[in-house]
């Protein structure tokens, strides 16, 4: 099986969120970056499992600058076979998707994996775009994947439940919880990762369709109002009269 996994870099889940340059840019000073959890825990691990069972190759791909190599090496340490980095800023979802689709077009991947979303932009857009650019089916929010030669059975999350679908041939999938279990890279994996191929490719040119104007922090809570544990009638009254939510 020839598999591609799209990986992105995000601030650590506990990172402080602040902005610079007149609130147009994320302030990354002192922030630890990680491999986006959905890409790492679910998409990448399931792709590796499939090649362990059926043979094949897992390529990871990232659109980003050289400072992203650290997360690419981590993906290689977890078990990807080789890596590609497209050397440009991931300015919007279209830039990322068009560059990945352009690369993938000639490579005959059986399945292209993504995470269900990045935990910084929370877009969930890149996968659908790649699928459309390559005219492939797209299964989003997949929590289970089984592959029987050219037929894949995928369970995907929908509002308040799930759906089981069957896909014929190549497709694009975004992975959610349930797909696989996180793998911690071991010493051997980390050593081997250093010698695995990482190809750097020049980006294609394209316009930025969506640009960031400004970030704002959500308004701070005014502070908690404590209610006596014996007096739940008072809480109900406040929820009705003051908060007006019931």
């Amino acid at each position: 099986m020839n598999l591609l996994v799209c990986i992105s870099k995000t601030p650590d889940t506990t990172a402080k969120i602040s902005f610079k340059a007149d609130d147009t840019e994320y302030n990354s000073d002192g922030v630890t970056f990680i491999l986006n959890p959905y890409d790492e825990w679910y998409a990448l691990v399931r792709a590796i499992e499939l090649t362990e069972q059926n043979g094949g190759n897992v390529t990871v791909i990232n659109v980003g600058p050289a400072t992203n190599d650290i997360i690419i090496r981590k993906a290689l340490a977890i078990g990807a076979n080789d890596a590609v980095r497209i050397d440009t800023d991931a300015s919007d979802a279209f830039t990322v998707a068009s560059n990945i689709a352009n690369y993938a077009k000639t490579k005959n991947f059986d399945i292209i994996f993504l995470g269900k979303e990045t935990i910084d932009y929370n877009g969930s857009e890149v996968g659908a775009m790649i699928a459309e650019l390559m005219d492939l089916p797209y299964v989003s929010y997949a929590s289970k994947l089984d592959v029987q030669s050219a037929l894949s059975t995928v369970t995907r999350e929908i509002e308040g439940g799930e759906e089981v679908c069957q896909v014929e041939g190549s497709f694009v999938l975004s992975a959610a919880k349930g797909m696989a279990e996180q793998r911690i890279p071991n010493m051997k994996g980390i050593m081997m990762a250093k010698n695995k191929p990482l190809e750097v490719i020049a980006p294609m040119s394209g316009d930025v369709r969506v640009s960031t104007q400004k970030f704002v922090l959500p308004p701070a809570k005014s502070g908690v109002k404590l209610i006596d544990a014996e007096n739940m009638d008072e809480l109900v009254r406040l929820l009705h009269e003051e908060a007006k939510v019931i």
């Binding site: 601030p11 889940t13 969120i17 959905y38 279209f94 935990i119 910084d120 929370n122 969930s124 857009e125 659908a128 775009m129 459309e132 650019l133 089916p137 797209y138 989003s140 929010y141 929590s143 999350e157 929908i158 509002e159 308040g160 439940g161 799930e162 759906e163 089981v164 679908c165 896909v167 041939g169 497709f171 919880k177 349930g178 316009d207 930025v208 369709r209 969506v210 640009s211 960031t212 104007q213 400004k214 970030f215 704002v216 922090l217 959500p218 809570k221 908690v224 109002k225 404590l226 209610i227 006596d228 014996e230 739940m232 809480l235 109900v236 009254r237 929820l239 908060a243 939510v245 019931i246």
Partner: protein, 319 residues
């Protein structure tokens, strides 16, 4: 020019989230000085009610298999209808299906797209849309630079306005491309409002001690008409179904009321719930971090407080 709104009709019925996007599209169209056209794929018993939101036309496209969602064929049909009606803005719900369509439509229409918009666009300087990013820890304003635009709207971002008149639904027939995807089975829990759409949510965490104790949470939820949720360790331990898991790695929600019992309020949990309008925290530990993010707090043993709250809710509802 027009604004096309794709409205989902799961099981042949349009839900509140559908009327929300219809209202969003109608308001946007009116500020752009153009018409809002609603589109449903397959039938819906209450399709005519979409007119009440201010749509000038509601199209029902027949010819696609119902309840067989395939992003590839659906986006093909929606883009075709957008073209036929010279729509340069397409609005969708930010549901699982809506998200799968947003990016595809953006490519088809050569449009800039924003998924998860939390308010109406700002047209004062071009076309800007805000959405929540960094898992609820910030809000960003994006400017869409292209002529065509695709926007999916986060649930509970605005109240449906249904003050207008119902209208007749116009039937059209479409041909869907053959697809490589088949839906074999759909499992949904009937009757319960799914979490992403729920206005009232009662959630519980590890403080519950075990799955056998969830009765008190369900009773409170039933009394309020709320949907139940849980923290991640609770879903991981299979105390509760996975789709109830809220937070950074689970579902992100923005209900009017979020009641959290026996949840410490870890940053990854808050990431999925901090857009809630009002948060009530019940925890026996006054130092629990969740109190910092709460509007109302009750320090006490949830096994006593929750049943007491249920009784108070019942009393209020019957008053």
């Amino acid at each position: 020019m027009s604004v096309l709104i794709y409205i989902e009709n799961p099981n042949g019925h349009i839900k509140k989230s559908g009327f929300e996007v219809a209202t969003y599209g109608a308001k946007l169209a009116s500020s752009m000085g153009t018409n809002a056209i609603g589109l449903i794929l397959g039938s819906a018993t209450n399709a005519g009610d979409l007119g009440k939101c201010g749509l000038s036309k509601v199209l029902q496209a027949n010819g696609l298999p119902t309840n067989e969602f395939d992003a590839q064929s659906y986006s093909h049909v929606i883009a075709q209808i957008a073209k036929d009606h010279q729509a340069n803005v397409v609005i969708l719900s930010n549901t699982a299906n809506g998200k799968a369509l947003t990016g595809r439509l953006a490519i088809k229409m050569e449009a800039g797209s924003v998924s998860g918009a939390n308010a109406l666009p700002d047209l004062s300087d071009g076309f800007s849309v805000t959405k929540s990013v960094y898992s609820g820890k910030a809000i960003v304003k994006y400017k869409i630079n292209t002529k065509n635009k695709v926007i999916s709207v986060m649930g509970n971002s605005l109240q449906p306005d249904m003050s207008g008149q119902a209208i007749d639904v116009e039937q059209i027939t479409v041909t869907a491309p053959t697809t490589k995807l088949k839906v074999l089975e759909r499992k949904t829990s009937d009757g319960i409002v799914p979490l992403p759409e729920a206005e009232l949510v009662v959630s519980a965490g590890r403080g519950m001690k075990g799955p056998e104790n969830w009765g008190i949470i369900e009773e409170l939820a039933t009394a309020l008409g709320a949907t139940t949720a849980c923290s991640r360790p609770v879903a991981d331990a299979d105390w509760r179904p996975h789709h109830e898991h809220v937070g950074q790695t689970g579902v992100a929600i923005r209900p009017n009321l979020y009641i959290a019992a026996g949840i410490s309020g870890a940053i990854q949990h808050l990431a999925g719930v901090n857009n809630s309008k009002v948060i009530v925290v019940i925890n026996k530990d006054p130092e629990a971090p969740f109190f910092k993010a709460a509007d109302y707090g009750v320090v006490g043993d949830l096994f006593e407080v929750v049943p007491r709250l249920t009784a108070a809710v019942k009393k209020f509802k019957h008053a």
